[in-house]
């Protein structure tokens, strides 16, 4: 007799194969687009064959859950603006973590095998932390709660105590079959409340500027939780184990790479409450000197080389299309235009590359920090469009909270024009020395408007 459930394992193996191919292809700009399609196809068949798993029931609920969750996820992801992508990654990652934690909860209610349960407890803890932490990251990036770090004395001690308490309850859940009067239905909710609370409290003191690293870390957490949950079933689900562990490892490495790009350690990101402390004792000399768009246009028209350094302000103002237009006009006038891309400009590594690619700026116009920095002394005009901390020369000054972060050395250019909405500070909350330099001028206004004004003025010249 043909047993349909026999196809599950071969299909899961094929799924993993396609996931790996997909991730591999996503690591190369030329094949990246097809990578997600491979992974998506694999996910689809894995989901379908799972319905064939022996001795399942509740199929109607299952289908309803897929339709509801899948529908909501699909619509929200389709409708959101490109600038909001970082927080969307955060929230979907949180949902994965929440799903992992819920699986642990169900398995812990059902099984009593200690060896299996211990992995479910660890998976549940990590998944729950990832869930509540990602939700906070989402709320911070969405601007629904304060982005600045929230700190109070003894915060880290409180957080560690909560984590320890969660671990204790986790152990109690494991040991409850052995002569403990407390029931699982009492211990389990307490365990999850503490785990959720830890993720919540651990993320609150982290500033918005560090969120990309934190999201990447929670992404790795969710992967790990999924991997551990794969073992929590009576027959291990190796598709979950392998895919989860791959994401856990890849996510951890990605987190390290991102932190390195900001010259920060992971512990510094997590426990540094970066941006909470105001720098004291340094007074920036000079004043911010405003300039009009027409004057900037003249300056640009007679320049031979222009470098554009974009930042989050460009993303917020959706100015990338206008920036591309400006680039075209400048190039038609024989001006060389390059883009200086700081690895952590914007809210995620690669954020600027994505936006500029959307606007149609060719890849060979984009330069890494290390490639472009030697060119600044020979650059006539640098346009800083909505970037702040990544061009702050305070990073070269000992004692500054930014000290040691590699920056774009735009202050070495002959002229620096800063397009900025107002006189506020950057994400890190630190005064920017650059704005007070003699070669710097401020062009106030919304980035999209300012850039269009520049383009108009240039066309008239």
């Amino acid at each position: 007799m043909l047993d349909l459930s026999q196809v599950i394992d071969p299909v899961y193996i094929a799924t993993i194969f396609f996931f790996i191919i997909g991730l591999q292809r996503m690591s190369n700009p030329l094949t990246a687009r097809s990578g997600i399609v491979w992974a998506g196809a694999a996910m689809l068949i894995a989901t379908i064959v799972t319905f064939l798993t022996p001795s399942l029931s509740n199929f109607a609920l299952m289908a309803l859950g897929i339709v509801v969750g899948g529908g909501l996820g699909y619509v929200a992801a389709k409708r959101v603006a490109m600038t909001a992508m970082p927080q969307m990654v955060a929230i979907y990652n949180g949902m994965g973590g929440g799903a992992a934690a819920s699986i642990s909860a169900v398995e812990l209610l059902r099984t009593t095998t200690a060896s299996v349960s211990s992995l479910a407890v660890i998976g549940g803890l990590i998944g729950a932390v990832s869930f509540s932490g990602s939700v906070i990251a989402f709320l911070k990036l969405q601007g629904w709660i304060r982005q600045r770090p929230m700190t109070y004395p003894g915060q880290q001690v409180v957080n560690i105590l909560i984590l320890l308490l969660a671990a204790v309850f986790g152990l109690l859940v494991l040991w409850h079959p052995f002569a403990l009067p407390l029931s699982v239905s009492l211990l389990l909710p307490l365990f999850f409340v503490l785990a959720l609370g830890f993720g919540f409290l651990m993320t609150l003191p982290i500033g918005g500027a560090d969120m990309p690293v934190v999201i990447s870390l929670y992404n790795a957490f969710t992967g790990l939780a999924v991997g551990l949950d794969g073992f929590s079933f009576a027959t291990p689900n190796y598709a979950m184990v392998v895919a989860g562990v791959i994401v856990g490892a890849a996510g951890s490495l990605l987190t390290l790479l991102m932190a390195r790009a900001m010259n920060r350690s992971i512990s510094n990101v997590l426990f540094g409450a970066f941006g909470a402390t105001e720098e004291t004792g340094t007074v920036v000399k000079g004043s911010m000197k405003p300039i009009e768009a027409d004057d900037v246009a003249v300056m640009l028209a007679y320049a031979s080389s222009v470098v554009i350094a974009p930042g989050y302000g460009m993303a917020v103002a959706q100015a990338q299309g206008k920036v591309k237009e400006l680039t075209d006009v400048l190039e038609s006038k024989g001006v060389t235009v390059k883009f200086a891309i700081h690895p952590v400009a914007g809210r995620m590594p690669g954020h600027m590359n994505v936006l500029l690619a959307e606007a149609g700026v060719p890849y060979d116009h984009l330069f890494d920090r290390d490639e472009i920095n030697p060119a600044f002394p020979n650059t006539d005009v640098v346009l800083v469009i909505g970037a702040n901390d990544v061009v702050n020369p305070a990073a070269h000054r000992q004692g500054s909270p930014l000290y040691g972060m590699p920056i774009l050395d735009v202050e070495q250019a002959k002229n620096v024009i800063v397009l900025k909405r107002g006189q506020g500070k950057g994400f890190a909350g630190i005064e920017n020395d650059l704005f007070y330099r003699d070669n710097a001028r401020m062009l106030y206004g919304d980035a999209q408007e300012s850039v269009s004004k520049l383009t108009h003025a240039l066309k008239k010249l």
Partner: protein, 103 residues
């Protein structure tokens, strides 16, 4: 009594998977960090499969409720993760890109 053979199999599998994840990511340009983070976010959406099994094996109403929540969250992770990654990567595709939106 724990069956040690299955424990070691699990360790083999987990170790090789960890190496795979590490190798796949290690030579990625900064440009692709965001799409890859989003892509791996989609891959751990495989949690949906586990959520379906957990719900399918659930018996009490409590288990069913939590299992249902797991399926909803897992399904949102899958579709949302896919669409977000797709949208980010769409911008890297030169041939089929729509002209940039003018505001």
């Amino acid at each position: 009594m724990i069956d040690l053979t299955s424990v070691w199999t699990a360790v083999y599998v987990a170790m090789l998977a960890a190496f795979t994840g590490y190798v796949v990511i290690s030579r990625v340009p900064v440009l692709l960090h965001t799409p890859l983070m989003s892509g791996s976010n989609f891959v751990h959406g495989i949690v949906l499969v586990g959520a379906m099994v957990a719900l399918g094996l659930a018996q009490t109403p409590t288990e069913q409720l939590i299992g249902f929540v797991a399926v909803v969250l897992g399904a949102a992770n899958v579709t949302g993760g896919y669409v977000v990654t797709e949208r980010i990567l769409q911008m890297f595709d030169r041939s089929s890109r729509k002209p940039a939106k003018r505001a």
